[in-house]
Point group: none
Chain length 80, copies 4
DNA sequence: TCAGATAAAATCGCGC
DNA sequence: GCGCGATTTTATCTGA
């Protein structure tokens, strides 16, 4: 049986790893904001840029889904 | 100043409208499940069907986004 | 054996039924949002209202569970 | 006046920087999920862990707010 | 019945 | 400060 001390120390380690990663994530989100701000500063419209990014993201997602359904079809036809 | 009684009665009315709508929504979700079950009963693969529905939903959403970015472009060009 | 044409047409019919139902579901979800917005406009706090609805939903679920347990007891006692 | 080619190439560069950063962000989000999964595998409850992380985040935010208020006081008193 | 995937709801954070 | 989009958390569903 594990002692509580060990459990606590493991838990603490997990929590700290998560918090470190979340901080990195926040830093990257800030970087993204900075890029939008910089682009805006050189005359680009952030709203348009966000829409472009969003459409390209959808394109990628759609392509993935199409690959997935192809796999499903092949599986259904016993060709996998 | 409104009395608490009036407030309470208004709040109650809002809550009841919401709960009624949520029940309708749940009923429709059940209907959808029934359709999948019926389709499965006639030999169709529900997983494939869900993927088809999902892709068609993405198509529609993508079309909408493309219309929106076109509007953004036109606005940016002062052509609206 | 069914022809592919028949299969396709059946599949199409199922998909369309599902999409129609999903659209209805979305419409109701929009109605719910509208009610929250309307309530907000008359001074109620949407967050609080959502909490109330959620609690009442849990209560209802709890009551149903308790009734089911009661039924089990009655059945076990041969009193159903 | 900038040529369209230059504009396009600048825009493309901004978009690519954003997409790269978003991918890094997603990768980190995945890492976080992995840590939760690993913790779960050693017997910890992810839901509880999320609660802990959330509370600690609030605490941190609260502490920062209190420090800012203290700074305001000190500044108002000419003690900064 | 449970885990793993999917979808929905709620919350958060941003730009306007 | 409000709406809107993204993210996160919760709930539901399906297949093993």
């Amino acid at each position: 049986m594990k002692s509580n001390a060990v459990n606590t120390s493991h838990l603490r380690a997990f929590i700290e790893r998560i918090e470190k990663l979340e901080e990195e994530k926040r830093a990257i989100a800030d970087d993204i904001k900075d890029v939008y701000a910089e682009a805006k500063g050189t005359g680009f419209d952030a709203k348009v840029m966000r829409k472009i990014v969003s459409i390209r993201r959808q394109d990628k997602s759609k392509r993935q889904e199409e690959e997935e359904i192809l796999d499903l079809y092949l599986t259904a036809l016993g060709m996998e």
